[in-house]
């Protein structure tokens, strides 16, 4: 009983954390707390097998999956605190409270019959007992969990797997291509210029300045450019002055950007 009274508040608080935490990761951690506590409660209630499964499958596998996905979509995203649907929170709270109260009143008064306990059922061992049920009474359900698993795999494949349609080019191919480009279009075969050589900034998101004062776009990594995260160092007055000295030609080029 002590275990229960220790864990129950923790679980409730952790569950509330699931609702209240702004960051998804925190919510996930809260859930993990609940799950582990739950595992303990299983153990207390003569369910050692479930205790193990809860830890291994739930906390170990399922929660990890959640975390993977969270990382995939951006760990540091946090929900905005403003509720966008009018009255949703209030309604949720009211319904929730009413629901809990109704359930407690409706059910609470009834659950008074004495607890039989699992000593007899677990006489041959908890796992054996479960297995006996699993392979007799619930064998059909058990067999159909196979279908469930297959579906899960298949579904994940269908939704997330991208069949490769063109063979990826090898290093050799790339090298050949590069030389060909140089031969035909005169593109520089070597590495692009390194970024961050500008006096005031020294970072990968700052494009290198060419001797004529213009920036070398290709010096910033492709991915940053696509996200539009490269720093526009050109607003610095020194650069502006320099640009003015150089003349109209470069201005035009500037405008092109």
């Amino acid at each position: 009983m002590t275990t229960f009274w220790v864990l129950a508040p923790i679980m409730v608080i952790a569950a509330m954390g699931l609702i209240l935490a702004r960051k998804a990761v925190h919510a996930a951690l809260c859930l993990a707390v609940v799950m582990i506590s739950l595992a303990v409660l299983y153990a207390v209630q003569d369910a050692p097998f479930l205790f193990a499964v809860q830890i291994i499958v739930y906390t170990g596998a399922i929660m990890m999956l959640f975390l993977f996905v969270l990382m995939l979509v951006g760990v540091d995203r946090s929900d905005s605190l403003v509720e966008s649907i009018k009255g949703q929170r209030l309604a949720a709270a009211v319904v929730g409270i009413l629901f809990a109260v109704t359930l407690s009143i409706g059910v609470g008064q009834v659950v008074v019959s004495s607890t039989i306990g699992l000593d007899q059922a677990n006489a041959d061992g908890n796992v054996e007992g479960l297995a006996a049920l699993l392979f007799t009474r619930y064998v059909i359900a058990f067999e159909f969990t196979a279908a469930l698993m297959i579906t899960a795999v298949l579904g994940a494949m269908v939704l997330a797997h991208r069949e490769r349609l063109v063979t990826p080019r090898s290093q050799t191919d790339l090298q050949k291509q590069r030389m060909r480009d140089y031969a035909e279009q005169g593109r520089h075969p070597g590495n692009p210029p390194t970024p961050g050589v500008f006096a005031l900034h020294n970072a990968v998101d700052t494009p290198a300045l060419l001797p004529d004062g213009t920036t070398a776009e290709e010096s910033v990594p492709e991915s940053l450019r696509q996200r539009g995260q490269e720093r526009q160092g050109l607003d610095d007055s020194a650069v502006q002055d320099r640009l003015r000295e150089i003349g109209p030609d470069e201005d035009e080029e500037d405008a092109d950007r």
């Binding site: 109704t102 359930l103 009143i105 409706g106 059910v107 008064q109 009834v110 659950v111 054996e128 297995a131 006996a132 392979f135 007799t136 009474r137 619930y138 064998v139 059909i140 359900a141 159909f144 969990t145 279908a147 469930l148 297959i150 579906t151 899960a152 298949l154 579904g155 494949m157 269908v158 939704l159 997330a160 797997h161 991208r162 069949e163 349609l165």
Partner: protein
């Protein structure tokens, strides 16, 4: 030592045939080259369905008759008490298999998308991206839809015959998960397809937890998950049984969600609209059928002893569902959404038949709640698949044109297609000489016999309301001059044509000569306890 489970594989074989062919499909998926997959998968699925159908019919013939079984029902509890192979159950199997066969015709139709299936070529691609067009160029097709459909079907079949709540829950998930995936696979309008999948998934998961929690409480009440044993506990109860009531309520929520009853209906329009049309048809017909039989099984078998406790609540739900579905459908401008609301309204009519809980008179072949609902599900399902098949044919360059405004003048452009659609609409509306009429007749007859004539009166008024929007579609198709270009009707492929024709024929035949089928559903008897 654990004794081996006593399984009568023969009576359970339809389940295993379907599931087995699903697995086979998976193997084929891995083994075959891309060029052959689609055709082979289609054929394999068809063979599996037909085989299961044949086996089901044979199993039905083998069921113990009521005389042999010693009670009013036909059949017996099998598989260690987990599955009930009884009259209504096997008929549901047959019904589901027929729905699946019809839907398969739509799944496999490759005429509309330049020789490609109605499903997206590669679900993982971002809509509108280069990859997607590349996938189209390479003529990619997700042939996994066939095994997925078979898995869903196996889940439905198990769902309808499960005799314990855990098996039922597993079946519920087996039927739901493939559908979630299928919903996301529309070739056109990927965004809403994915949205539909997500909504369906989140809400489906949410509601299934309610079912599960109800099961837990029922277990808490009776100490067993087996419907038969729960029934014993319920029948023997002395107290008011708050635990039982809450258990029933929560289980009802889960099942009503699948049926699409108000206020658990909200997913229906969105998902029906977003999902690929063949999937919508399959889902609308089959899921509803399976879930309804499961609902009836749970409430008649496990909670039959408490029927006066749950009936009033279901009456209210039935009324709200009928009225809400019919009323909101009026304002719809999208065919698929309209059909979705119509399916909500039909759920209401079905609930009328169900909530009367009329079990009939001993040794008399009369329309009971079970038999009338079975009949209704057949006619509704067939017409639904037919209607969605028609929807899949009415297209313009951007795919299906589901906006009703685009349907104006369809009757003049292609009278046969519009005529069949009108036929389905009339059947939905319950106009005599269509199957829908006999269906409505049946549930109302059962309801009246069960003593709930006010529900019948409300029901008929609601069907008048419903008739309004069905008729509106007919007006649109036949009496309104087409605006601008009007719909382009793609020449339907053989498969779709066959599906539409079959559905139309069944709708008419069951409207004029419903005798044989009525006979069958009446003799299916009650659920085995």
């Amino acid at each position: 030592m654990i004794p081996a489970a006593q399984l009568d594989y023969w009576v359970l074989s339809p389940l295993f045939v379907v599931a087995g062919f699903a697995v086979l499909g998976l193997i084929l998926e891995a083994a075959l080259g891309r060029r052959y997959r689609f055709v082979v998968q289609t054929i394999a699925t068809a063979i599996g369905l037909v085989a299961a159908l044949v086996v089901s019919v044979l199993v039905y013939g083998d069921l113990r008759t009521p005389e042999e079984a010693g009670h009013v029902a036909r059949g017996a509890v099998e598989a260690e008490g987990a599955v009930t192979v009884d009259g209504p159950g096997v008929i549901t199997w047959i019904m589901l298999l027929v729905f699946a066969l019809l839907s398969l015709g739509l799944f496999a139709e490759r005429r509309f998308e330049a020789g490609m299936s109605p499903f997206t070529g590669r679900a993982a691609d971002i809509p509108g991206s280069d990859e997607e067009s590349q996938a189209v160029q390479h003529r990619l097709e997700h042939t996994e839809v066939f095994p997925l459909m078979l898995f869903a079907l196996s889940g439905m079949m198990l769902f309808a015959t499960a005799n314990d709540l855990i098996t039922m829950f597993v079946a519920l998930e087996v039927l739901s998960l493939p559908l979630y995936v299928l919903c996301a696979l529309s070739r056109r309008r990927r965004l809403i397809s994915q949205e539909a999948a997500m909504k369906y998934f989140l809400l489906g998961a949410f509601s299934s937890v309610f079912f599960l929690y109800g099961a837990a409480l029922a277990y808490g009440y009776s100490g067993s998950l087996n419907l038969t044993i729960i029934d014993e506990a319920v029948s023997a109860r002395a107290d008011s049984g708050g635990l039982l009531l809450v258990a029933m309520a929560m289980i009802a929520v889960g099942l009503l969600f699948k049926i699409g009853a108000v206020p658990f209906h909200a997913w229906t329009p969105d998902v029906y609209q977003g999902a690929p049309t063949p999937v919508t048809g399959f889902m609308a017909a089959a899921t509803k059928a399976a879930a309804f039989i499961a609902l009836m099984r749970v409430f008649f078998v496990a909670f039959g002893g408490a029927s006066w406790d749950w009936r009033p609540t279901f009456w209210v739900v039935a009324v709200i569902t009928m009225v809400f579905g019919s009323v909101v459908a009026i304002a719809q401008t999208d065919v698929k959404r309209m059909l979705a609301y119509s399916s909500i309204a039909h759920a209401g009519f079905l609930l009328v038949g169900f909530s009367a809980a009329y079990v009939g008179i001993a040794n008399e072949a009369v329309l009971t709640s079970v038999s009338s609902v079975l009949f209704y599900l057949v006619v509704y399902g067939v017409a639904t698949i037919g209607a969605f098949a028609v929807v899949s044919v009415v297209r313009d360059s951007a795919g299906e044109t589901t906006h009703l405004a685009k349907w104006t003048g369809l009757g003049q452009r292609s009278p046969w297609l519009a005529g069949t659609f009108a036929l389905f609409m009339l059947s939905f509306a319950g106009i005599p000489l269509t199957a829908g009429f006999i269906g409505k007749w049946g549930v109302f007859a059962a309801a009246w016999a069960g003593g709930t004539w006010p529900l019948v009166v409300i029901g008929v008024l609601a069907s008048a309301l419903a008739a309004y929007f069905y008729v509106r579609v007919i007006v649109l198709m036949f009496f309104t001059e087409p605006v601008g270009d009007g719909p382009t009707v793609a020449a339907p492929g053989v498969l779709t044509t066959v599906v539409i024709a079959l559905a139309a024929i069944v709708t008419v035949v069951l409207g004029v000569l419903p005798g044989p089928l009525l006979d069958i559903v009446q003799h299916a008897g009650a659920f085995v306890r």
